[in-house]
């Protein structure tokens, strides 16, 4: 029994090391194998910088848009439950299940010159395929589920009594939302934001098809890394990969700090208000 347990533990640890630790460690080692200067040189090329800028900017827009819409959709699903919300609930998981290449192709098909939608948009001077707008659409599509699924359980877990108390005390609908519901959801909103943001940062399959991958214009970070690999520049790819992983990790840390800060400010304000009333 004892022996079996040890064997199982070593099997799992071994698998974790072989699958995750060793490969990711090797990427970092590879990135710095030519020393700091060649690492800096690899990631400071204008094409690399432009790719990272573009990735950050579009991911940020995606995160904001999809978190806002995710909140709305989650509220619709958990609170208002209109007709057909079962189907709505299923549709949300669809982007998770559809292969990312297929999502990219869907957008090319829909907004390309073949479809009536694409033709209409072209006539009105809007190009989607092979543009930044196309990348945004792809990222919005791919990250829909993350925001909604992060917010749903939190809305389920809300204490309705707090809202009722606010209603009874005469707060308006908007005030209840802004002062009671949204603050209670701040952790869930934070994780929805961070999940959509990081997923958008790392997305590859759909973007590689939709964006056209023009360097300096529509090339995002993951596609840039793939391009380097195709040119047998493993060290440059590893360097860019390290930066991409670092940016994602940084986003997680920033989100945690921001939430902690907000929490502290709320606590301080609450204490001040409480103290004030006691003095009266």
């Amino acid at each position: 029994m004892r022996f079996g347990r040890m064997a199982l533990d070593s099997l799992i640890s071994g698998a974790l090391i072989l699958i995750f630790v060793l490969p990711l460690g090797a990427v970092i080692q590879q990135a710095f194998s030519g020393g700091w200067s060649s690492f800096v040189q690899a990631v400071m090329s204008p094409i690399a910088i432009r790719a990272f800028e573009l990735t950050l900017a579009i991911s940020f827009v995606t995160a904001i848009l999809n978190t806002a819409m995710g909140l709305l959709i989650a509220v619709v699903l958990e609170r208002w439950r209109p007709v057909g919300s079962g189907a709505l609930d299923a549709v949300i998981d669809l982007p998770l299940a559809i292969p990312t290449t297929v999502s990219g192709l869907m957008l090319v098909l829909l907004y390309g010159p073949v479809s009536p939608v694409g033709r209409w948009l072209t006539e009105h001077g809007v190009a989607v395929v092979y543009t930044r707008l196309g990348i945004l659409f792809a990222l919005l599509f791919v990250t829909v589920p993350y925001a909604v699924r992060a917010l749903q359980p939190a809305i389920q877990a809300l204490d309705v009594r707090q809202e009722e108390a606010a209603w009874v005390l005469g707060a308006s609908g908007r005030r209840v939302w802004l002062k009671v519901i949204v603050p209670a959801l701040r952790h869930a909103l934070g994780s929805a934001l961070i999940l959509t943001f990081t997923r958008a940062m790392i997305e590859f399959g759909s973007v590689v098809i939709v964006s056209g991958n023009k360097p300096m214009q529509t090339e995002v970070a993951s596609v840039y890394i793939y391009g380097l690999l195709e040119n047998y520049d493993q060290r440059g790819a590893a360097a860019a990969a390290v930066i991409l992983m670092f940016l994602c990790a940084l986003a997680f840390v920033l989100e945690a700090r921001l939430l902690a800060l907000l929490g502290r400010r709320r606590a301080v304000r609450w204490a001040a208000a409480e103290g004030g009333t006691r003095h009266v």
Partner: protein, 269 residues
């Protein structure tokens, strides 16, 4: 919130999802069948497409098996908070924030022919990079979190009283696993397996980098779609895409069914 706002909000949510998800999904089905059933059938049953589909099926099968064997003990490890559980959890969640391309790169760096381990494996005639084992490894890298993610909360919610009862009554660990744990965890495990299947069918970036996408050798269904679209063989790309999209739709229905069937046992902890 007044009634009006509810209606407006609901409509916005519906329209948003319809435009963002529904219309593109419909577009690929329409596009694939634009030339009628004949060309569709022809592209799906071409030798290359059939090979790619079979490859995807094989990879998915092996991945499911490995993830089950590795994922369940990991889930217990994390759920029990055994020594080092935070580390295990962190490692298992890691793939969710690593780009698939980076995952592929990482595996190539270690298991490629120029690397130490890769060269050794090649020496004993195990080809990992640009071959089936590497593609399975890439898929596992990306899908390992799902089963763990689904079963950990379930294990924690069930607790260990029943396990202790089984132990006191003299049941062996295996018997406890079969008679106490698996019957209670089956919905969570099935849900995790369905998610794993969905991701394995659709995995692209990591497999692309690791496999080198060699036609009729290491080409999976998603790689076929990509190659076809790059080569401007749009009919073939759309046909296989439609097939994959329908498969994902079927998986979504399965997931919904599992959610209902599992009812309280799932996600409600």
């Amino acid at each position: 919130m007044s009634k009006v706002w509810t209606v407006v909000g609901t409509s916005i949510a519906y329209v948003w999802l319809l435009l963002l998800v529904g219309v593109p999904f419909a577009a690929v089905l329409v596009g694939a069948l634009a030339g009628g059933w004949g060309p569709f059938w022809q592209s799906v049953t071409s030798q290359e497409a059939l090979f790619a589909l079979r490859m995807t099926g094989e990879i998915t099968g092996v991945t499911l098996l490995v993830n089950l064997v590795l994922g369940l003990p990991m889930a217990f490890w994390i759920a029990r908070r055994a020594p080092g559980w935070r580390m295990v959890q962190w490692l298992v969640e890691l793939p969710l924030s690593v780009s698939p391309v980076v995952a592929g790169l990482a595996l190539i760096v270690v298991y490629g022919p120029n690397a130490f381990i890769g060269a050794f494996l090649l020496h004993i005639h195990v080809k990992v990079a640009f071959a089936f084992p590497g593609m399975v490894l890439a898929t596992i890298f990306v899908t390992l979190p799902f089963i763990v993610h689904e079963t950990v909360p379930a294990i924690r919610a069930i607790g260990d009283t029943q396990e202790q009862a089984a132990y006191v009554l003299g049941a062996s660990p295996w018997r406890t696993l079969w008679r106490v744990w698996l019957p209670q965890l089956k919905w969570s495990i099935l849900y995790g397996l369905a998610l794993t299947t969905a991701r394995s069918l659709g995995e692209f970036g990591a497999v692309l980098v690791v496999s080198g996408s060699i036609v009729m050798v290491t080409e999976t269904a998603t790689l076929f779609v990509y190659q076809a679209s790059v080569n401007n063989e749009m009919q073939a790309a759309y046909a296989v895409s439609a097939l994959l999209a329908l498969a994902s739709f079927a998986l979504i229905l399965l997931l919904q069914f599992l959610k209902r069937a599992g009812g309280r046992n799932l996600r409600d902890h």
